[in-house]
């Protein structure tokens, strides 16, 4: 086989430095050498590009998993309250929409007429009905980084809403008159890409129809601008611009992925109303588009039960968020009305089950099975059952089929036979699943159709499902988006499914191209790829790979850093003799056990590990090296720093959810309720007094409410100085208010505070006894719930407690009085 490599000496022998003619054979050998070397380098480069991609995708999915856990917690919030409890108010407050049914009321709420536009405002002043020039002006204004005044935003959105309401669920488009239709995928708030598309392809018009396939918002920084442009063109050319709904057109998703934040910060005064209006608009976006009755365009995909005739009939606006059950219809019978609240909540409980919890099945992404999603679901399901039993006795509804309720953990949502609601529940569950599938599914290469556990909604569907679906509906191609692709687009399922992604540089500058596709009457796709950002134009392929890799590795190092405690335990488990050294194979498997990212650690290790001795890694030193790359925060203890980094998004999302009016503040009462629920969820027993203290102490600026910074602080381990501040604050309050007697509290605390073994995450300090010794002073000692000086490695976890795994790592700060 291999002909080997010529030795140096051979080369030297024939190499003529005096410029004599060199035999052709040498030239050939030289060429071969260079070719081989280059091909090897290119392969290495490709390898790096691939695993960089894998890193980003894994992180994205890992984040989704966190999101799922959050939703499970929220689900718990919804399910676990008793009718008499006051928590119920908070929950319905959080999860109920303002059921203002009459349109007139809505119009009043969203009225823009009393909003004045100051003379100094230099942005576009829109007049309705909009025309092409105004749309072009709007585009120009956004290009110049101007912001549209909230009055016009509201007006534009209202007009959009009015238009969307009369559109069908299925847009039907035709390529007659030799029109080419342009189709775009995910934009994710990347205005530059939209501008680039219009630049390359022309703006929408009667001669240039466009279909936009969802995910206009979140992640990118110009989501609202992207949305406004698309809506403007929709209003100007309602017969030539088609918008599909994506899974990010969903206010609960927006809470986490940045759109809510963006709107609130850009529109401080009217942001709330804008968001509320957008909630309605999103629910009114059509679900799919069909071209020439041959090509289906949908954001996510299909499942084996997708049925377009059913889709055509649903009341799509009832499905405001994929993660919440459908809004109930107004009850027809008067006597039911009185119990409607309770009825509603029960419905919510039942219907919610099916959305996020799926049974543990085999699947393409095997590794994600190890996540405790299943544990979550079974925990919550049990509680649901208990809760419902209680309510059964109280409510006198016939709950014969409720034993089935926790078996709603199957891909088809079963019907619950509630007497008043049997039909309603049935069809709405089916419909809900249909919509989830459309917006959340991903294709896979195996045959069949399995629930999409990674995303928590929709399915993975195989080529056989595609074939069947296309035949049944007499279609020839499915165009979908939802997944980022290196080259902006990718075919699969025998070229019957096309994934189209229009947000370039999605993960990082240079990470991927965006693409759009044109379809003429022959329905043969013509692709255009692009990459926004001027900086990438100068980069060669190796350079852009390097850059993207750099970012991916940085992100990965961060993840390793925030999991230090767990990793350390894992290493020490292997390194029983405590040598401080571990071989690479063990290093790799330990990391995989802790992080579950399914990455090729052996391939990555040169990038993550600076040096090894005899193939062994000094892991303490390695952690120190990792830490060096982080910003230092001396006040914050390691494990809490980890917690903070790990849970920042989740905590922020919780805050935003509790802050229903999007004011940026939550009331003491809401915070108190949230803490109570959180502690119940985490199976921590904390007395009301302790919670009260916590609430008061969290309000560090003493303005009577809690803003997001204070909220985050509450979940952080305090540094000593803050502890002192808390102490003195409380002392102040103690002097001013009457608080429970000192002598009573130690006993209460003793009995209610859990031992470390029960809830490992709640790292209790020294046992209460030692603290009571301090109570000689006027302050009662309540042991801090969080531990400042926890010895490393004691942060061990029981796998049985893993259902509360990640959320449990939040420690509550209870400063001693």
């Amino acid at each position: 086989m291999g002909c080997g490599v010529t030795k140096n000496s051979e080369f030297n022998k024939r190499f003529d430095k005096d410029g004599n003619a060199i035999p052709a054979a040498i030239t050939m050998k030289a060429a071969v050498l260079i070719q081989r070397w280059y091909r090897k380098s290119a392969a290495r480069m490709e390898m790096r590009r691939r695993y960089t991609w894998n890193i980003f995708q894994s992180m994205e999915y890992a984040d989704l998993q966190d999101q799922i856990k959050l939703y499970n917690f929220l689900g718990y919030l919804m399910d676990n309250f008793t009718p008499s409890s006051s928590e119920r108010k908070l929950i319905s407050h959080i999860f109920r929409e303002n059921e203002v049914c009459r349109d007139a009321e809505w119009e009043r709420y969203f009225s823009y007429t009393n909003i004045d536009v100051p003379d100094i405002y230099s942005g576009p002043r829109l007049t309705f009905p909009l025309d092409m020039d105004q749309a072009a002006d709007l585009l120009e204004a956004f290009k110049n980084k101007q912001q549209l005044h909230s009055r016009y935003v509201l007006q534009l959105l209202l007009e959009t809403w009015k238009l969307l309401r009369v559109l069908p669920n299925i847009n039907r488009v035709s390529t007659c008159h030799s029109k080419e239709i342009t189709i775009c995928g995910d934009l994710h708030g990347q205005l530059e890409d939209l501008l680039l598309i219009f630049y390359k392809n022309g703006m929408p018009s009667m001669e240039k129809p466009y279909v936009f396939n969802g995910d206009y918002v979140d992640r990118g920084k110009d989501s609202i601008e992207v949305l406004l442009i698309l809506f403007a063109f929709l209003l100007v050319y309602p017969g030539d611009v088609y918008l599909n709904r994506g899974n990010h057109e969903d206010h609960i998703i927006n809470l986490r992925y940045g759109f809510t934040k963006e709107v609130l910060s850009k529109y401080k005064l009217h942001g709330k109303r804008i968001l509320k209006l957008l909630q309605k608009i999103f629910s009114w976006l059509p679900l799919v588009t069909v071209i020439d009755q041959r090509v289906l365009i949908v954001h996510g995909g299909i499942s084996d039960t997708t049925d377009l005739s059913l889709i055509a009939r649903v009341d799509r606006h009832r499905y405001v968020s994929a993660l919440r059950p459908p809004k109930r219809k107004t009850p027809s019978r008067a006597n039911v009305y009185a119990d409607s609240e309770r009825y509603d909540e029960m419905l919510i409980c039942k219907n919610r089950r099916g959305s996020l919890t799926f049974p543990k099945t085999f699947g393409a992404r095997e590794s994600f099975q190890r996540r405790s999603l299943q544990d979550f679901s079974s925990t919550v399901a049990r509680t649901l059952e208990q809760e419902l039993e209680v309510r059964h006795r109280q409510a006198e509804f016939s709950l014969s089929s409720f034993s089935k309720s926790h078996r709603i953990l199957s891909s088809t949502l079963s019907s619950d036979s509630e007497p008043e609601s049997s039909e309603f529940a049935d069809t709405s569950n089916d419909e809900w699943k249909q919509i989830l599938d459309l917006l959340w599914s991903d294709p896979m290469s195996h045959s069949g159709c399995i629930p999409n556990e990674v995303r928590g909604g929709g399915c993975y569907w195989g080529p056989d499902v595609t074939e069947d679906f296309l035949n049944r509906h007499n279609l020839q191609l499915i165009i979908r988006s939802h997944e980022c692709k290196q080259d902006g687009y990718e075919f699969c399922h025998n070229r019957k499914v096309l994934t189209l992604f229009s947000a370039s540089n999605y993960y990082e500058v240079g990470s991927n191209r965006g693409a759009f596709v044109r379809l003429g009457p022959d329905l043969v796709p013509y692709f255009v790829q692009y990459q926004a950002t001027s900086t990438t134009r100068g980069l060669s392929f190796p350079q852009s790979v390097k850059r993207t890799e750099h970012t991916a590795l940085k992100v990965l190092r961060e993840q390793l850093f925030v999991h230090k405690s767990d990793l350390l335990s894992a290493f020490q488990e292997i390194d029983k003799e405590n040598t401080g050294l571990i071989c690479l194979t063990d290093w790799a498997s330990a990391i995989e056990r802790v992080l579950h990212l399914d990455l090729p650690w052996q391939v990555l290790h040169p990038q993550l590990v600076s040096s090894t001795t005899d193939g062994k890694l000094d892991y303490h030193r390695w952690f120190r090296d990792l830490a060096l790359k982080k910003p230092s925060s001396e006040h914050i203890e390691q494990s809490m720093l980890e917690t903070l980094y790990r849970h920042r998004s989740t905590l922020e999302t919780i805050f935003r959810i509790v802050d229903t009016d999007n004011s940026g503040f939550i009331t003491f009462e809401d915070f108190r309720q949230t803490l109570k629920l959180l502690s119940a969820y985490l199976k921590m027993e904390i007395s009301d007094e302790v919670i009260n203290e916590l609430v008061i102490s969290t309000d560090t600026n003493n303005d009577g409410s809690i803003d997001i910074d204070e909220f985050m602080e509450a979940f952080r381990l305090v540094d000593k100085s803050r502890l002192e501040r808390g102490k003195s604050l409380l002392k102040l309050k103690q002097d001013n208010q009457s608080l429970p007697q000192e002598t009573e509290t130690p006993q209460t605390v003793d009995s209610t505070f859990p031992q470390t073994s029960q809830c490992p995450a709640l790292q209790t300090a020294d046992p209460p006894a030692s603290n009571t010794a301090d109570s000689a002073s006027s302050q009662t000692a309540i042991p801090p719930a969080s531990q400042t000086a926890d010895p490393p490695g004691s942060h061990t976890e029981d796998s049985s407690a893993s259902q509360t795994e990640d959320l449990c790592h939040i420690s509550l700060v209870v400063p001693p009085q």
Partner: protein
């Protein structure tokens, strides 16, 4: 007895090497295993092998792929087949690496007038006509990384050091 001991020792040592090697192969394979079902597209085999530090010629590669494919070619290569073949290749160190010196000498051979640089056309001619010819795509890719944008020539010394510097073992 002593000899036996050494044999056993060598055997154990080699076992270790084999395991580490196999881990490397498995990891590299996984990067390209998109469906996580222990198969890769046959067209990626060259990339995988090269990324593991081997330099088979195109001819060699053809032979390897022929060995790896199923009786009825599916377009995919299974890990079960890939692992033993690749292990053998790596352990036998069939394809040794190319040093930087050798590489530079190769460029110098092509640089007949000893200018210290190469014109894009020159390099293109050599690499697309001689030896194991590059495809147009490969040539374009190389040129985009190799050509100095200001001078429009290939400063091969710089190019080689840039490429070999990044290349982590």
């Amino acid at each position: 007895m002593f000899v036996k001991f050494i044999e056993i020792h060598n055997f154990l040592l080699s076992e270790n090497i084999i395991t580490e090697t196999q881990k490397r192969i498995s990891n590299a394979f996984d990067v390209f295993d998109h469906e996580s079902n222990k198969t890769v597209d046959v067209r990626e085999i060259g990339t995988i092998i090269r990324s593991l530090g081997c330099f088979p010629s195109e001819a060699d590669l053809h032979d390897i792929i022929a060995e790896l494919e199923e009786e009825e070619p599916t377009g995919f290569v299974r890990y079960e087949k890939f692992l033993p073949t690749m292990t053998k290749i790596l352990l036998e160190r069939k394809f040794r690496p190319i040093t930087e010196d050798l590489l530079l000498q190769a460029f110098e051979v092509l640089d007949q007038q000893k200018k210290g640089h190469l014109e894009p056309e020159e390099l293109t001619k050599y690499l697309t006509q001689e030896g194991e010819p590059f495809t147009q795509e490969e040539m374009d890719e190389m040129l985009s990384a190799a050509v100095d944008p200001d001078k429009n020539v290939i400063l091969y010394r710089d190019f080689v050091s840039m490429m070999t510097f990044d290349d982590t073992r």
